[in-house]
Symmetry: C2
């Protein structure tokens, strides 16, 4: 932005109240604030994309028991990818693309901590918030380091069309496993099998989904990669195989529930000597570059698709995109694409 | 039994109906049957002890989903230790002591499969159904092969005064860990700390038991050894430590519930990169002898106590002993000691 521009205003999204059930636009409000001046060692990022992250619903609950919390009146926590528009920081220059946890606002000041540069030759900017970002890295490390599916094994992905599941299923296929996806519509089922190479896709809204799953997994499940929790996890636990792994990646079905439920069928883990394994991708931070080199090769070879679902709009579009994601309208990662991205055209 | 004896009758305990809630004497009935003649390759065992196993309540549920089921009209499944009183089997001789899954009856015919000889120089006969038998072996392998507590770590045993918990806690102490026990009465708490060497014992019926646990585990829990499930497991999951292990050994609080509950706080496993690990002792069958040699040394050195709680009576005493165990009256393994054991005095 040159000195001749009209000084832009910064719109910031605030949490207005603790949501009940799936959160909607009424739970948020927009505040306008000036774009701050930079101090030495700081840079200013203009948002091109916001990542719409399911875990936000967990940290907006009326509970201090989670490690981070967004309270009414706080700016909404979220991931942003954008362009450095001013810099007084030695390691970042104007015009570079970066992403980080910078909040749902048009302009963010950063001291560089936690920021990552986006190499647009590896993947387009939006992908760095999804399948090439935290969601994709989660899938990559959870599959290759924890689940470790083997050729001939059967994997179930719960939440198969979501940001993480859509990548995890493809990586399990690359490992030679047979991949079954559970998702929430027949259109998503078609997409999973036709575009992402899933062997079987089942709509968990079908009355007989569990019977379909039993038929699809006659030798039980070596891996359950669970993103959703709730009834889908509970029922699928009855099919876990001997010494199987249930990867606990997320519990999105529970984040909006007033009283969260645990999976009563966890006792099947005992019978089957299986494990329910917690996982946090940040433990692998020193291997992100390695994972991205591998994934970039897969993308180039046409073996890995990085799907994202964009909603175009400004800061005030975020609550609607977030609600639509919870209602299951997305294929892959949900992103809000901001006017600043439009201005640059296809480049980023 | 010599030819001059009056031919004894065999009392067998049958399940009369599917229990509701904690099962009681009204759910069972006794049938008398003749003691069968042996075929070539068979032996006859006279029961001295029955093991009272919590898992029986799970397999008497009105559900075919578990791998084994006792239905109304079936003989009650259970473990027996006793004396070989007749043998037409090449590898077992009259007068030997054995144990196995021979049902709740005075006399059992066996072809030797699954039977194990009891060396009474290692441990008394009753102990072979408890702390020196499946319960103790479960504790031994679950602790030493899966939980692997280290000196300075903190372990929580849920169901600390039960058949498995009472041994598991002692083995964790031998590994140098700090051991906290959760149990259901202040008398049991006293017993855990004074007799079994637990560092801390907490009564989960105290209103502030969770706060007591928090104070006792300021650095969180490296291991939760869970025998009970339900609320105790759910609450304690909030204190699991980084990369901790929750050993799923049993879920006794849930077996009597019409609708089993899962632990809603399982999402803490995610945050803490912890695992809930299923375990079945039978996988270690080829190492039982090794474990017993180690445990026999500990017993001899006074480092391991094998606690059991005996109820004297005949076959018809089993339902009452079983009910009392579910009400928490036992310290260590619950056994029914039969008249045949009395006749032999202290020997077995």
């Amino acid at each position: 932005m040159s000195a001749g521009d009209n000084e832009p205003r910064n719109k910031q999204l605030l949490l207005k109240r603790v949501p009940e059930g799936i959160s909607g636009p009424e739970d948020f409000e927009v505040r306008e604030a000036p774009v701050p001046e930079l101090q030495e060692g700081e840079l200013l990022v203009q948002a091109h994309y916001f990542g719409v992250d399911a875990a936000l619903r967990l940290i907006t609950r009326d509970s201090d028991e989670f490690l981070f919390r967004v309270k009414p009146g706080d700016m909404v926590h979220g991931s942003m990818a954008g362009r450095v528009v001013r810099s007084r920081h030695a390691q970042f220059s104007e015009g570079e693309y970066v992403h980080g946890s910078l909040g749902i606002q048009n302009y963010a000041v950063s001291n560089g901590e936690g920021l990552e540069r986006c190499d647009l030759t590896q993947a387009p900017l939006g992908a760095w918030l999804g399948g090439f970002g935290v969601s994709g890295l989660t899938a990559y490390f959870a599959v290759t380091d924890v689940c470790r599916p083997q050729p001939g094994q059967t994997v179930l992905i719960n939440g198969a069309a979501g940001a993480v599941g859509s990548i995890a299923g493809q990586i399990c296929r690359l490992a030679g496993a047979r991949v079954i996806g559970l998702t929430g519509s027949s259109a998503k089922c078609d997409w999973l099998t036709s575009e992402l190479g899933y062997d079987v896709a089942i709509n968990y809204r079908d009355a007989d989904w569990y019977e379909q799953l039993q038929r699809a997994a006659p030798d039980r499940l070596d891996v359950i990669f669970d993103n959703v929790g709730g009834k889908v996890l509970d029922e699928s636990l009855k099919l876990i195989g001997m010494r199987g792994t249930v990867l606990l990646c997320g519990s999105t079905s529970q984040y909006s529930e007033a009283h969260m439920q645990g999976p009563a069928n966890y006792i099947w883990l005992g019978t089957m000597r299986a494990r329910l394994q917690g996982f946090v991708v940040f433990d692998y931070a020193d291997r992100y570059a390695e994972a991205r080199r591998v994934m970039a090769r897969w993308i180039e070879a046409g073996q890995l698709l990085i799907p994202f679902w964009e909603v175009a709009g400004d800061v005030d579009m975020f609550p609607e995109a977030y609600q639509k994601m919870y209602l299951g309208e997305n294929l892959g990662k949900t992103l809000v694409r901001l006017p600043a991205a439009e201005a640059l055209g296809g480049a980023a």
